[in-house]
Structures are given as C-alpha cells and as structure tokens.
Symmetry: C2
Subunit: 266 residues, 2 copies
DNA sequence: ACCTGAACACCGTTCAAGT
DNA sequence: ACCTGAACACCGTTCAAGT
C-alpha cells in the first residue's frame, strides 16, 4: 500500500505545507538533544572518538536530519564549545558580584575558571581544540557570531574589575598597561595553568606534585602582586575569601564536584 | 620475464639477506625526508589537512614503506613535535648561558620560547595538538620515551636558574614554593601567552591591539616581580638585556625572522 | 516538506603479490 | 627482505527515494 495512492497531490501539499506550531520548539529541542548526546559521548570517550555514525545511533532521528541542524561535525563541536562558554560567563558574573574588594573579585574569576575546568573538562578542552584545529573555519556563520559574542561576555567582567581597581588606585603595574593588557595577562596565566594541568597527569613525571587548584591560586597571587594589586598576598586574609567562595558564591559547584568524588586541595 | 625465473631460492635469499651497510643510514635519511615533507606540508596547509595519501605523493617511496618507519599518522606528528622540542631545548641552553643575572637568564628563556613560537608556529602548535588529541596514546613507545626525555631537557635550564637565584637570595615568593612550582608558573604563563596570541588574530576582535612579543615581556616581568625576583622591573635596565639578546644570543634567529618579513615590536 | 539511509568520496592501515 | 599499491574498514557528507 503506497502513501501516494491515498492522497492526491494537492491534499499532500496541504498536509505538508501546513505550518506546524511545534516546529521551532522541536527544532531547538532536537539541537539540545544532539548537543546533550555529543557532550555525554566525548565525556565518556573522547573528542577524537566522536563520530556522526556513533552519534546517530543514540539519537531518535537519522543522519540526514543532523545536517538540517548543523552544517558539519565542526559546527556541532563549536555549538558545544559555545554552550560551555555560556556556563562560564554565568560563573564570571557571579564572581564579579562577590561582596568584597576588586582583588577578591579578581581571585573569584580565576577560581570560577578553575572550577569550570574541573567540572566540565571536556568543554574546557573543546575551547583548546577549537583553537588548534580549524574548527572555526568549517562551522556555520551563526555559531561563529555566537562564539565572538560569548568571548566578549567573558572579557566583560574582567575588564570591569580592573576599571574599578584603577579608579580606586588599588593597582599600579610596573609598566603602563591598558585594561585589555591587564585582562589578557590574567587570561594567559589561567588558561596556561588549566590547560597544562588538566591533561592526564600520570603520563608526565615532571608535573606529578602539582595540584591545579593550589597552583592556580599561587600563580594568580604572584601575578596580582606583580600588578601591585592591593592588598598584596601577605597583607590580607585570603583564606577567608576562598572559604566564602567555596561555601557561598560557588557552593553549588563545589557540591557538584564533591558528589563526583573530587575534593579541592584548598 | 619473471624475477623468480632468474634466481633460485637460495641465491635470492643470499641477495636479500646480505647485510647492506647503507641500510641504517638510509632508514634515518628516509625518516628525515618524511618529517621534512610533513613539516613543509602542515606549514603550507594545516595539521588538519595532512593526509598520508597527499604525503606519499611528495615522497620517493610508497605508502606501505611509511609504516615501516612510523606506526601511525600520530607517530609522524609526535616525531615532528619532538623535533621541535629539540630545537627549543637548544635555544633554552643558550638562554641559560646568557652572561648576566639569573633574572636576565629567566627573561632570556621566555624570549627564546617566544622566538621559537614565532619561527616555528606549526611546531609550537603541534605541542598543543599533541596535548588536546590523544596523539601520545597512538604513537610508538620509542617516540613517547623521547618526548618525556625532551620535556626533561626543557625543564632543566629553568629549574637550574631558579636554584641559582635561590642560592643568591635573589628570589622570595610571597608563599612557600618548590623549584618545580616556580618553573611551572613560568611555563603556564608563557604557554598561555604564546598559545592565545599565536592564533589567527584577525578573527578575534578583542585581542586586536596585543602584540605577542610585548605582552610576553610584560607578563614575564609582572610574574617575576610577583616572585620578588631581584632586580625588580623598575630597578634595572632591561632594554639593554633585550638588545643583547637580539644582537648576540639569538642574532641568528632574529635574522631569520627578519628575512621572512617579521619585525619584532620590542 | 521533511526524513531516511544507501551511496559517494576520502581517510588511515594492512597485506598479498611482486621484485 | 623489502617495497608496492590494491583492498579494506571506516569516516563525513549528500541526495534520490520514501512518506
């Protein structure tokens, strides 16, 4: 029995072209299902092991349909990367609202970045992957736009903290530096620390005694002291700041880490 | 006319099993030819575009023979990565021998790393790629051994500088730090700065005013000041150090950069 | 109109056949 | 013994056929 035998062309056209109210909602839902699935997969296996064929086996729709939502595998990865950056942006905003001195908020930002890297290692790594391979080239224009927008949302709170500390005369680097340069110095240090320490440490004999949370806090304090960011490391009780970050600002994230068996070394 | 018709089995065996003196030399030569070729290719195109088929088209031997020298594509990439690390280790040794204070030598190390990243961007990126994808897993045991050995050779001069500055009482971080932690703080900052700034900057609106050589020197000075590494940024004529690095220690590398149209902003 | 999965072009790796 | 390239299994992407 054939479909075409039941309907004539005009009624078919009517059936198919009838605008369905649920369509847009379904579209978004499907995109999320796919990203959820891809995220779970690369968390379980690895980015390298991700395959469209393997992905489609776990999805309620077919291979062809994937390409109605994402124009390439790289588009999926950038979509996932952007999702991670949204999460990170929310953490940065909370850090910016920490009730305390600008330097405490600056520490909070780095603390947030480290928590993010520990909570979502695969999403953190995805930014790295996006930088090394030419993911951004193959991805869709819309995803690339979103990516740039999110980069701005991440830089925002950092620049704003430095602006405030300059206004309050609480920072005076040994050489003239723009807000952008100050923010960039922080970003490089944090990025480098997380990237180098997040990798499978067991392989690397030389880094065996390093714990990311301790090194991160140390490195940030060193850099901030270099900025002459007041109050200096030894002129303030930073353990209180960190315990408030742990018990109040990021308590949900800390609980999440604990439930997965990770205990912070600080 | 068949080969087998001319020789009987024993004379064939004799012909083939005769130890050829050139064999080992040819083996090494072929490996180098392949690595040269792969290097040129990813410099011209990209790591992602590298294909065994494309590679073999430019080589004087066939696809199967490649697998007599390298057990996988990842093995080739790790081989190339190791080659880069050898070059870098040589630069670090020269930096360590810079005639000056430990802090000057520390600056020289970072300067060397930046020069390396600028001179061999694809080799620098290969370390990043090796870290993100599981290249190290698929590569041969011998290449992995070599990789760890080279990591040690890179850390060596850095640790040695810090040991000397501790002996001379020229360093006193605001918190207790091991030699390993000191070296790691430097590595993270340098790695992060190079990695973030080496990427195609035109894409990224927020980083448009940043020049890697200037930011690198700034960031290192900030971190060293955080270490209380004597003499501090504003207590010494560092421009003299940098001009000696440019005109003496790394003059060959600077010339090389110039010949390619790169002019350092410092 | 939308979904499907066979089909396609291309990839890394192997191995029987040639020398 | 060593080299070769056809053959294989698998990949991302497309598109004719089905509904």
């Amino acid at each position: 029995m054939f479909f075409w035998a039941i309907f004539d062309e005009s009624s078919l056209k009517e059936l198919f072209m009838t605008p369905r109210i649920l369509d847009i909602k379904t579209q978004v839902e499907r995109e999320n299902t796919l990203l959820d699935c891809a995220h779970a997969f690369i968390q379980r296996e690895s980015i390298a092991a991700l395959t469209i064929d393997k992905l489609v086996k776990e999805l309620p729709f077919s291979k062809g349909t994937i390409y109605n939502h994402f124009n390439s595998k790289e588009d999926i990865l950038l979509g996932l990367c952007n999702r991670g950056m949204s999460i990170l942006a929310e953490l940065f905003n909370r850090a910016r609202q920490f009730d305390g001195l600008p330097r405490e908020q600056g520490l909070a930002i780095h603390f947030a970045y480290m928590l993010y890297a520990k909570l979502h290692p695969t999403l953190f790594m995805l930014v790295l992957t996006a930088k090394t391979s030419n993911i951004t080239d193959k991805a869709s224009a819309s995803k690339q736009e979103e990516h740039l927008l999110l980069e701005g949302k991440l830089i925002g709170p950092i620049v704003s903290i430095f602006q405030e500390s300059l206004d309050r005369n609480e920072i005076s680097p040994p050489m003239p530096m723009t807000l952008e340069q100050l923010a960039f110095a922080c970003w490089s240090l944090s990025f480098g620390t997380n990237a180098l320490l997040l990798q499978n440490i067991e392989h690397c004999g030389t880094r065996s005694n390093l714990v990311v949370e301790r090194e991160l806090i140390n490195n940030v304090n060193l850099l901030f002291d270099g900025f002459q960011f007041q109050p200096l490391t030894n002129d303030f009780d930073w353990t209180n700041t960190i315990s408030r970050l742990k018990s109040i600002t990021f308590c949900k994230e800390i609980d999440n880490l604990k439930s997965r068996g990770h205990i912070l070394a600080i």
